[in-house]
């Protein structure tokens, strides 16, 4: 999944806080996190590009089971309606990328559960769950304040909730609604389409899930740039600074 993507803030083992800790023994990002991060970076760009190509063929959205150019649409995108021939390679790239994304995402989720990555790095502390701590994090970020000496320099509560939302809400919704558009898959699991309210509803939800993922990606890249692009990208490649 995209979750291990970027880190806008420091991530040290909380018990060993301090930038001088031995990075070789305690990498900033575990190898599984780094590898799946970059596999997902490429597969997500494949999904995005091909998703756009598919969208060009029919940039209209509907609710329910059916919808054609002859029926009213929920909304339509101001895209040229003429480039209809892009769905061949678009669909092939989309599904090939989806296999890569889903398989490496599944590997990431399983390893994250086994190694305690989610519990340790992403699960918010109970004390941080509330409007006051969240508002405090946001206002501190807006004032460009770094974590204080007494605070744990791991992900803050907003980052944790965002990553968890991407990993456990947005990607699962995208996968579910994508599968709900497959007539072969819904022949085995009809509830996938029924739960979405129909094939066209699933397509519309798929579009919104993709839209929120793109929004996350843009924020994520912006945060990486603000926090120091080279150092952050290098730490996601090599696991440590330098």
């Amino acid at each position: 999944m995209i979750a291990p993507l970027a880190m806008a803030d420091s991530l040290y083992l909380s018990s060993l806080a301090g930038p001088s800790l031995d990075a070789a023994d305690h990498p900033r990002h575990a190898a599984t996190v780094r590898i799946t991060h970059w596999i997902n970076t490429f597969s997500f760009f494949g999904l995005l590009l091909s998703g756009f190509a598919i969208l060009l063929a029919h940039p209209r959205f509907y609710w329910g089971e059916t919808g054609t150019v002859g029926t009213p649409s929920l909304f339509r995108l101001p895209l040229p309606f003429v480039l209809t021939g892009q769905t061949g390679w678009g669909r092939s790239l989309h599904f090939s990328s989806a296999w890569v994304c889903v398989l490496s995402g599944a590997f990431y989720v399983v390893s994250g559960l086994v190694t305690g990555h989610f519990r340790r790095d992403l699960l918010p502390r109970a004390a941080d769950l509330g409007w006051r701590p969240v508002a405090k994090v946001i206002s501190k970020s807006l004032r460009w304040e770094r974590p204080g000496a007494g605070e744990s320099p791991t992900y803050n509560v907003v980052q944790r909730l965002t990553y968890l939302g991407v990993i456990f809400v947005l990607f699962p919704v995208a996968i579910w609604t994508g599968l709900a558009m497959s007539p072969a898959v819904t022949s085995v699991f009809p509830f996938l389409a029924d739960a979405a309210g129909g094939v066209q509803s699933a397509r519309t939800l798929h579009f919104f899930a993709a839209g929120f993922l793109v929004l996350f990606l843009l924020l994520h890249i912006a945060m990486v740039c603000l926090a120091g692009f080279r150092a952050r990208v290098w730490s996601m490649i090599a696991g440590r600074y330098e």
């Binding site: 598919i54 969208l55 063929a57 029919h58 209209r60 089971e65 059916t66 919808g67 054609t68 150019v69 002859g70 029926t71 209809t84 769905t87 061949g88 390679w89 669909r91 092939s92 790239l93 599904f95 090939s96 990328s97 296999w99 558009m181 497959s182 007539p183 072969a184 898959v185 819904t186 022949s187 085995v188 009809p190 389409a193 094939v199 066209q200 397509r203």
Partner: protein, 254 residues
């Protein structure tokens, strides 16, 4: 490099070797069980194969495509008609004669090749189903289709148990094929009726294929000839359909 990472390196190397040989074995097994699509080459071949094999295994229990209520049938006037009826003289002549002289040729690996008239097809046991047709572009409609299950016709002509594909040739230049599991599926119809009437010309008169577990473009129209075969390598570019020539997958379950 410390001990730990050297051990990691050796483990990774062994895992890669095991993975590569495992992949080769998997490919042979997949081929034996018909899990490799005819268009498995090219940069998207691996993805196509994963999708096809994955969905075939998922549908091993012969799952049924969703069916709908008659109240959900889309207005015919809202359904875009893709392409135009064949311009060929033979089709136009049959169309003018209300397809009285039309015959469906069924041959290939069958015990009793046949020429079937529309009246003969109508006299066979029929199936009526309200199913969705979804286009690969993203739109979809629901209609009621009536026809004879392809499995009935294949049994009638005595299709060989060694057959792997049923190939469909319409009056126009396109052609397509189904694997036997899809061909023998109870919802795979040779349809002559749409919404309680004869199929309108634009929707594939006199006979079209209905495969509700696959996307619209597999439901080919204007059928003329069906061949049962164990290989599609010698037809067209050998990819099972004309679709891969235009960048579209042979298998359209997704």
């Amino acid at each position: 490099m410390n001990k730990l990472s050297r051990r990691n390196l050796i483990t990774t190397g062994l895992a890669t070797a095991a993975g590569a040989s495992g992949l080769a074995v998997a490919a042979r097994i997949a081929d034996r069980y018909g899990l490799i699509p005819p268009d498995h080459r090219g940069i998207f071949g691996a993805g196509e194969t994963l999708t096809y094999a994955g969905q075939r295994l998922l549908m091993a229990s012969h799952s049924m495509a969703r069916e709908f209520n008659r109240s959900e049938i889309s207005k015919v006037s809202t359904i875009p008609v893709d392409g135009i009826p064949p311009r060929k003289d033979d089709y136009q002549r049959l169309l003018r004669g209300a397809f009285a002289d039309w015959r469906l040729k069924v041959d290939g690996m069958v015990a009793r090749p046949a020429l079937l008239s529309l009246a003969a097809l109508r006299s066979f046991p029929s199936r009526t189903q309200v199913t969705m047709q979804a286009c690969e572009e993203g739109w979809s409609f629901i209609a009621e289709w009536t026809g004879v299950p392809l499995s009935y016709v294949l049994t009638l002509v005595g299709a060989s148990p060694k057959a792997k594909y049923v190939v469909f040739f319409p009056f126009d230049e396109s052609w397509d094929s189904l694997d036997m599991s899809e061909a023998m599926h109870p919802q795979t119809l040779l349809a002559y009726g749409m919404n309680g009437r004869e199929i309108p010309t634009g929707h594939g008169a006199p006979l079209r294929l209905k495969v509700p577990r696959q996307l619209g473009y597999k439901n080919i129209k204007y059928l003329s000839h069906i061949t049962v075969t164990d290989t599609v390598r010698n037809i067209g570019t050998g990819q099972g359909s004309v679709s891969p020539d235009y960048g579209y997958s042979w298998y359209a379950g997704i």
